[in-house]
Amino acid sequence: MSSVTITFEGRSLQVRAGQTVAAALAGAGVRSWRTTRHHGRPRGLFCGIGICFDCLVTVDGRPSQRACLVPVRDGMTVDGPEWDTTTDRTRSAPMTETAQVAVVGAGPAGLAAAVHAADGGLSVVLVDAGARPGGQYWRHPDPALGADERAGHHAWPRFTRLRDALDDHVRAGRIRYMSRSEVAVLEPGAPFRLHLTPVTDDAAMPPETVTATDLILCPGGYDRQLPVPGWDLPGVMTAGGVQALVKGTSTVPGRQAVIAGTGPFLLPVAAGLAAAGVRVVAVCEANSPWRWARQAHRAALAPDKGVEALEYAAALARHRIPYRTRTVVTAVLGDQHVEGAILGRVDPAGNVLPGTSREIQADLIAFGWGFTPSLELPLAAGVRTRLDIDGSLVVEVDPGQRTSVPRVRVAGEATGVGGAVLARLEGELAARSLVADLNRKPLRATALRVRIRRLRAFARALHEAHPVPAAWSRWLTADTLICRCEEVPVTAVRYAVDDLDATDARTVRSLTRVGMGWCQGRTCANACARLTADFTHTALTAEALQSTARCNLAAPLDLRRVARLDAQATTPETAP
């Protein structure tokens, strides 16, 4: 294991090579590195995967970089937010890549889609924000870290087979793979034009545009969050962010942890933390396993899931981790960082039972209320969406993963949260249905479709067993922040609804600035839509979620780069 030296706010830190800046700072015991604009509240690592923009730092003079996405480099200087206009950035000529199909996302769905599309003879461009393929599910450390990349993973050989196939296709020129790149603008048309940007300014500049006749969008998702008092304190993270830190950088962000929310994902997070030496003092599951048992006949359709659950149960028992059902964290305690949490027992609707609240000490709280898909790109493409059973906005697809927009396919969590196996199979199906369509041949994939149907049924059972507690909003206080970026409290939402006649989430957003900050509502829009529905005594609707999820920029883009969006890009001579 080698180490590198970085300078953080003037002080020299020896950190492990292969880490991200955020992991390096967390490992060095730095909990926060910037304060909010309005109230000076400390901010550090929260989502850990580039969604929330809480962890912004200035790296080598380049401001507004997400610390969780920048790998450390020897001699790097890291500062809190500054805004320097003098640092020169790499400039590159506008280049374009052309392919039959552009696959966005290299998680289980995107990886499978890219590999199967290339297997079918198509030219593929694969665009992914990650430094390495695998997405959040198969997140693994930088080889420079010298850690075991398989640690904590299920179905790892499945991943390595896909990765080997990807490598083969890349060598053969059938797949052009652009890592650490995001699609900022999806320009509809025939062909589609994707405008790319590096995830952080230190990353290599990808070709500015990708032109493709077909799209397979596999944007994945991230942890759904329900704000509670104190949830913006450093030391509160998303469950997925904790998982990413442990799996991707072998770093633990605390010593004593509470994991709270609902769903089976809480278990691997707890097991991973415990294996890494963190004392997990409670896993709080808001729902009851009895609900799960009622759906057991559907679980039987996916026996490998049952085996996984048993393994985690054994891990929890081995580490003596208390698993508390019908228990929630109603508030996070602390001043500058997390010092503890208030736990409470709840009824099936999520109402806290009188006399059951108690304090527990912890310096790390991980929240996970299931997942919510990233829909920026599908919505930019104009596809039809619907409200899924878990309250997420998801894309409508047909049995070939085709959306309502011709030549746009979507696979994975964006069609309904259902886990990695389902995502991988959908990715495969999307690619195979595209190959079949292009060859004007019927698709023979009965077995694949049967497996997908079964996994969908299983996912539905899980969602039914792990709903977001209806009474969640009763845990909030007037000054609980709904929007972390713009620091909008519950009381502002209440005022917008009660006094200003806001009747929907979009109006609430415009009146309060909820979801108008750095993350553009990725973190809080779902919660705000729920809260608005609650306050207006209406049901959560697809329209409410659509109205705040639609955006023209799927990632922040330098103004200088925006100025070139209409430039005619040139094709690199080396392109096939």
Binding site: R37, R62, P63, S64, W83, T85, T87, R89, V185, E187, P188, R193, H195, A380, E486, A496, D499, L500, D501, A502, T503, D504, R506, T507, S510, L511, R513, M516, G517, W518, Q520, C551, N552, L553, P556, L557, D558, L559, R560, V562, A563, R564, L565, D566, A567
Partner: protein, 383 residues
Amino acid sequence: MSVRSPDVVVIGAGAIGAACAYFAALAGCRVTVVDRGAIASGTSSAGEGNLLTSDKSPGPELELALYSQRVWTDALAEHGGLWEFEAKGGLVVASSGGGAAGLRSLVAQQRALGIAVEDVDGERLRDLEPQLGPTITGGAYYPQDAQVQPMLLVAHLLRLARERGARVLTGTEVIGFLRERERVVGVRTSAGDLPAHDVVNAAGAWAGDVARLAGVHVPVLPRRGFVLVTEPLPVTIRHKVYAAEYVGDVASSDAALQCSPVVEGTPAGTVLIGATRERIGFDRTFSVRAAAHLARGALALFPVLEHAKVMRCYLGFRPYCPDHLPIIGPDPRAPGLWHACGHEGAGIGLSAGTGAVVAQALAGVPTTLDLTPFAPERFPEHP
């Protein structure tokens, strides 16, 4: 006429409708506002909230703007804080010799009409706006140019109107008019009939469709505009800064894409970059061309923004009239129907004056402003 106050139905819960409702309620009318969407769900939520006299050439629109300025700072002054009224000042800048000369002649005309405006150059320009790029050589400073947060404006005007007895029915679409022979005597909505003595069409970019339901023609068309929003920045842009060409673009009737930069900072730290103008119907498709034009324009004014990250880009539809004048007043072709629409990109700023005169006219008192230039029947019946 009944001895009670006449019932007024206002169609449209945007800035114009809200101002009409507020002033009519204040005058004692019983008002009902209907909108098929939520409050301010059309153009009012898609602009910057400009209260400008600087971009207006002498004529009736400037008269309305000056009158509105008085209403903002007089009748509405006590509520200014509710909608974040701020007289931040406007700075029109020019880089070319020709642009500068054109600007100077406009400034002279405006000054003659009582607009506060100061010619600025060199050092004074950099005092006012230190981050301006080196190619900018001259300009004009309008200390009275102001802004409001348009969503808060609409929401609070409607709230104040409700406190004076008005009703606001959102999610309620007007599907026809109630008639007694020629006369309009109310509206038919998706939630039932609403009889009223007078009906005000304040449906903004959609006002033409509403007028058609009453069998009359008002030539309001959508003129699309995009706005870029940057990340919160420590860079300070204190005024509304725009290029002299902006005034020409506002007055132009060209359907093709036009873009002249308007750049300003906000209390949230973000920098707003407008404004494109394009007549291509209600097309909500993102235009990379419009966004790129905006970015280039902003960079010409403020090269310092080169690496500022754009977080969001939104669009809206200005209610455009071919002669660039709003349509305000009673429609003799359908007695009982009034129009207050077609304010193009100036509707937020002109809402105060529009609401105030419409309320006067509805109440049958002499209007402070002559409404003749804004008459609905000024257009040919069949275009």
